[in-house]
Every structure is written in structure tokens, then in C-alpha cells.
Symmetry: C2
Subunit: 482 residues, 2 copies
Amino acid sequence: MSAPAPKPKESLQETLQQVLRILSRHKLVENLIHKQEMPKHELVETIVHKQNLTELEKRLEQLYPADIAFILESLPLDERLTVWELVRPEIEGDVLLEVSDSVRETLLADMDREEILAAAEHLDTDELADLVPDLPQDVMHELMGSLEEEERAELQSALSYADDQVGSVMDFDMVTIRDDVTLEVVLRYLRRFDELPHHTDKLFVVDNDQRIKGVLPIKKLLISDPERGVADVMAHEVVIFRPDEDVGDAAQAFERYDLVSAPVVDSTHKVIGRLTVDMMVDVIREESEAEVLSLGGLKEDEDLFSSVWSSAKNRWPWLALNIVTGIIVSRVIGAFEATTAQIVALAALAPIISGIGGNSGSQTATIIIRAMALGQVTATSTRRLVAKEFGIAMLNGALWGSVLGTVAWLIYGKLGLGLVMAGAMMLNFQVAAGVGLFVPLLMERFGRDPAYGSSVFLTFMTDGMGNLIFYGLATLFLLNAM
Amino acid sequence: MSAPAPKPKESLQETLQQVLRILSRHKLVENLIHKQEMPKHELVETIVHKQNLTELEKRLEQLYPADIAFILESLPLDERLTVWELVRPEIEGDVLLEVSDSVRETLLADMDREEILAAAEHLDTDELADLVPDLPQDVMHELMGSLEEEERAELQSALSYADDQVGSVMDFDMVTIRDDVTLEVVLRYLRRFDELPHHTDKLFVVDNDQRIKGVLPIKKLLISDPERGVADVMAHEVVIFRPDEDVGDAAQAFERYDLVSAPVVDSTHKVIGRLTVDMMVDVIREESEAEVLSLGGLKEDEDLFSSVWSSAKNRWPWLALNIVTGIIVSRVIGAFEATTAQIVALAALAPIISGIGGNSGSQTATIIIRAMALGQVTATSTRRLVAKEFGIAMLNGALWGSVLGTVAWLIYGKLGLGLVMAGAMMLNFQVAAGVGLFVPLLMERFGRDPAYGSSVFLTFMTDGMGNLIFYGLATLFLLNAM
């Protein structure tokens, strides 16, 4: 049996189109059967009906699990389940691992206990660990019971770590060797395997207690004289990870040192697992997606075809928070009703000040959050950063404050209004720099990830302060003069 | 010579602290020498002075190029150059490749022609291709002249592709074999290499014209009987790439199929290069960073220690654009001066409506931009998505519109104002859904990446329309009634 050919992006979209065509034909026939209330044994329709599904099944057989996951995610719920029922049982587990959390839920809901257990059979323990938290309680227990003792121990170990810890993504499949043999022996040892673990670019050299002594890169094994000893050829300097380390830090290390695999060791340096670059790529992708989703105001990833209701709920926390801050800002403006009644132009100009303040603050916050994520923020650099950001705010405040002051002066023909506008702009640039700097720094200090949620507080402050400053200055300087 | 040990993130920050300590000691001594105007040959000071630099140099020798790049990026300009001058010439090229574009500029500016040429000598052609565009014209020509013909051809080929094409990141170093030999022959062939190309997880099997016939995974080579033939063991299904493909699509394919390396072929299927996962990880990281930077309103990555002036310039395009849209929105509000003069409460309430509209629109845009990036948007799914997003907007509009209408009624004691508020809120949710959907779709239609710049236009529309709707409804329904 030859493996299916992976598809580049374009041909994957073509495949999706083909699947959609077959599905719509299938639906047509189904509607026909249904409408005319034909007895199911009417031969012609049933054959056509079956033909479509058989064609679809064949199409799916040529696809990798990741491709099928893509197709499933791109289909509305009813079509998705039609396709899901045609997926070969032996790759169902892999497909479940590839789809997003929200889509996985819809697929699992369609499977009965036996199907789930059958799908799980084809997975390694580290893969099972990803799946288990989404399973119904009783299925999970039955699954645990069906495992061999070693596998169960591995699964429990993997489940004991939080999602953001190395232990939760490590792999238990690896090749370890001793250092007192020749490469020839290693080569012969490897030939006894039916298959090497995926992403094996190095063998872990361990002592009798499974403690890491070094690694033998496959590259070295291949080019060296087989008569040489492992101890002679192996590398002693190894990047190792601890199971309780942050998985994002591990991904950064993989990136920094161009790793393909690396050992995970416990506190006594005993090798207990392995990290591989494919998992780290997923970590990098997930982290960046979570950040973009959170910047866009979404709590979690949405299934493209989830119900209006469940999508709406995903968006409420952010909207509710913004409505509360919006009402508070509105009360700030409301406090200056007397001023606004006399100088109506303020109502038209204030949104510019709060808007630009928010923009400038988010520029500052983006820079500092990035620097923090890279670990570049030290005591010295913080001082410099603060000075620099306030400097930029000063420069930008003077520049854009003058521009906007002049515009306000020209539109309304009142120099005083222009001056207040320019002054408010300059001050709000300082506020924006301050908030953009200190909100992320404070969040980090209190152990929270500054990439999430900084923006709500930032906009609240620049909106509130921007309006307070502008209406306040206008009340102070313009109310009697005009 | 043993390789330096890579550092996990914590110890890397420790190293940074150590470097900072040595640097500040160094600076102290330098200031002393300078202030007292001591003649340079005063022995004691000079020795102390040298000691610090020697200590620093030793510290640097233990670091990987990526670690040194991290240190350099975390240092202010003067300290950065002090450290840069201590970096061993043979790894200067590698460090230049690891630092960000803006930091690379500061380092290159400090090097003379000979230093640059010496650093370039240690790089492969695909690495040179990354560096060359940043070099001064004359150095580039001299560098080109110093290359052998084959290398020059490779470099020119790499330079002929755009930054977002596969050809610009492919590697020319690879191992190709024929399929009519035994694995034993392959093993012996590999032993003739001094070193295998990095990330070699498969050998490319080619015919006499270098056309790809399949791949021999190293895993298979190691576990199979050496007597077997390559043709018998190799995999025929290969993920191949074209040099003009989008590099982001290639990275997605690497992620989807868990690849470590893959051949790049021309239109006749001749192997011309190789992609490796380390480059793809960089691509994924860079794409996500560019998206976050752009969402934060930054044109490009900023050197943490660049001057106030150059950082300010990086932030101007976004601020200028937002000021222009802000002024337009301000004119919309200004058109309703007569209404505002009568109903001052509008000035306090309008920002809530435009603000929430912007938030809701960015939620919609985030979902659709993500779906487009994954290639999940088809004609069928677009129809469904549009219906769903407008449905969510209807639901949210009714919900939050009622909440805010009630709040406005309670605060101002005017039912009419509450109703106008609720109505404006509902309408602006529809506007937000429409803009959030169609701006990204239109941008994609016109060949632009919707992740960049959608947000400015989105906020502009929800601000402008939100105010227009709210002030318009108030003018229509409240002006005579109140």
C-alpha cells in the first residue's frame, strides 16, 4: 500500500471543491428520495445514492489526515458529518488530532463509545493525551482500562501537566543507546526496528540509569567510520528540556538552535521523553493565533460553521467589557454637559483626540509586549525604553497636536479652540505612552500574559483621559472667553 | 573544539545580565581614563580595561550565534558595538543572519569593507542571499566577484525571487542519489562526506537529468537491509515545491505534513534546491509577528534602541491615516451641530456606539481573515458566513442595543433618547458585520493581504456610520419632540 500524496494548498482547495460537488449531488438525490417518499429499495435511486458516497470515500482514501481535517473544518455541520462517517476508522484518531478544538467537539458528539475506542487504538500515548480531555467521562475510563500498564503510566504523566508545559506535548517514543559500543553495533541495532520514531535526527546516549550523557546525531552516525565508538563520536553539549518548562520557551529554543528533536529529562537528568519540531511548530502557530484572536476580541477559536448562538457567546465577554468602559467614558463626557452646550464643536473634535491616543498607545504597547516576549526587557533597558517612548510621544504630540490644532482653528475660526485641541493632543500622547508602557509591565509583574487584555484597558484609559483632558481644558480656558 | 552549549531562556537572560555587568564595569574604567585624561600607557588602568574586554570575549565564545544575536538586540547602540567588535570573525556572518533587519543595519554600519567580506566568506550562498540586499553597493559587487561561478549563479538565482517566494529561502546544499544502487552503496557514499547538509532527513532520488523520482528517508535507510536496492525502499510520493510558490503556503504544507526537508523543483521536475523546517519556522514566526505589528499600527519591526526620531517615523503612516479618517468622522458629527446644541447628551453617548461597532466589526474581520488564510473560504461557505455574521449582529444588536438603550433612558430620563440609542446600536452592529465581512473579502479580491490594513478602514466605517446613524436618528425623531 503506497502512502497518499500530500497536496499543496491550491490542489487542496480543488479537492475541497470536488468534495463539495459530490456532496451537493448526494444531497440532491437524497432530497429526491425523501420528497417522493420512495421506498428505500427503489433500485435506481439507491444505486446513484450509493455511487456518490463511494466516490467520496475513494477521494478521501487518497488524502492525509491533515487534509481530511482541512476538508472537515471547511464544511457545514451536516455535510461535515456525512464526510466524517466515510473516513477510514484507522485514521479517525489522527484526524481528530488535526482538527481544531471546536470542530473536534462536533465530530466526537457524532461518535458512539465503540467508535471512539476504536479510533483511540491507533494513537500513541502522547497523542491520546491530547484527545482524552475532550472525551466523555465514561469513555475516558474505559479507554484508560484498555491500556497496558506502561502506556497508562505515560498517559497519566502527560495528563498531569498543564497545557502550556513541556510535559503535555512530549513524546514517549525514542531511541536510546549506550556509549560503550561502536557505531557498527548501533547500525545493527537500528536495523532491528520495524520503524524509527518520527523526527529521529539524533539518538540519545544514556548511562545505565537512563541518565543523558550526550546525543549521537544521525548525520554523524552516517558519515563516521563504523569502527569508531559512540563515546568518541557523540556530542556532549545537548539542549535538554524539563517537563515543567513553558512550552513557548521550548519552542523559542527550537527556533533559536534549529532543533529537530531534543530530550526531556527529569531532575536527575533521566530521559523521560522527547520534544519534536512538528509539535513546536504547532505551538508557535497556536500562540500567534491566540494572540491575533485576542487582539480581535475573540475568547477562543470559532468553528466556521458553529451556530449563531454559540458564536455570539464567544464574543460577549469582550463586548460586555467594552460596553462597561464605554459607559464610564460616556459619564466623563456627560460631566461636561454645560461646557458642551456652549461649545458644540467639542463633540465633533473629542473623538479625534481619544482615537489617536488609542492608536499611539497601542503602538507603544506592541513594542514593549514584543520585547517582553523575547525576554529583552532588563532593568537598564526598561529605563531607556520609558525615556524613549515618552520622547516619541513628545515629538508626535508636538507634530500632530500642531496639525490638528491648526485644522480645528481653520474649521471653526477660533484660535483658542485650536490651542486647546493642540494642548489636549500633546497631553494625551503622554498618557498613551504611559499606559502603553505600564499596563503590559504591570500585567507581567502580576504573572499575566500582557498579550491578552492589555488593549481593553489601554483604550479605556486613552478614551477616558483624552476626553477628560480635552473637555477639562476647554472648560478652563474657553468657557468664559467665548 | 567542542561546540558551545545552547542556553534555555532563563540562563540566556542571566547571560545578558552578566554581559551588562561587565559592560558597566568597562564603561566605568573608560570614564575614569577619559576624565583624568590619563596617558593611555598608564599601566594599571589599561590592564583593568583590557581585563573586562577579555572576560567579555571569553563569555561570548561560549555562545551560539543566535544567543549572541539576542544579546546584541538587547543592548543599546554603544554597548552593542562594543560587544560586536569582540565577536569572533568566523561567526560574524551567522550572527548577522540571526539579528533583526533594523539591528543588522546598525552592525553593518560599524563594519568596513574587509570585515564584511571576511564575514561573508563563512556563509553558504542561500545565507548570503539574505545578507546581500543590506550591503553597500560596492561591497556587494566585490563580494560577487570573489565567488566561484557556481556559487555566483546560485546567489543570483536566489536574489531573482521575491522575499515571499520559495526560491528566496531555498537551500542549495543537498544529497542526491540514483535509484539503481543498493543501500549499502548509499551508506558508503555518505561516509565520503565530511558533513551532511543540516536537516537531512531524506535523500533525493533523481534520474540522470536530476529529475526527482522519489525520496529515500534516512529512517528507511537505517532500518532496511543494506542489500536492498534504493528503488525498492524509496518513497514515490513526495511533497515538492516550486521556486515561485508562496513561502507562506510552503510553511503551511510543512506544518500539515510534519516535514523536515523537501525538494524544490523547476517546471521539468529537476531538483534545484531544498526547503528545510528551520526556515519555515522562521517564516511562520515572521508572518505572525508582521501581523501583530500591523494590528498594533507599526509599519515594521523596531530596533528596541533605535533613535526617537527613527522610531517616530515608523509610527507616522498609521497615525497620519488615522488622523485623516478622524477628521472626516469629526466633520460628520460637525454636520449635526444644531442637533447637538439642543440635545447635549448625544455627545456623551455617540462614542459608545462607534466604539462597540468597531469592536464587533473587528471580531467579524478576525474570523473571516483567519478562514481566508487557511483557504477555507469557498463560494458556499461565504454565503453561510455572511448569513451567520449578520445573524450574530442581529442577536448582539438586539441584546446590547436594549441594554444600552435602557442605560441611556435611565441616565437621561428620556425614553425617546433610549429608543434612538437602541436603534442606532442595532443598525451599527449590521454596519460592523457588513464592513468586517466585505473589507477583507474585497482586499483579497484585489490581491492584497487582508491581515494588513483592514482595521483602519473598518474603524473608519464603524466610526463614521455609527455617528451618522445616531445623530441622524436623533435629528429625525428627537429634534422636534424635545
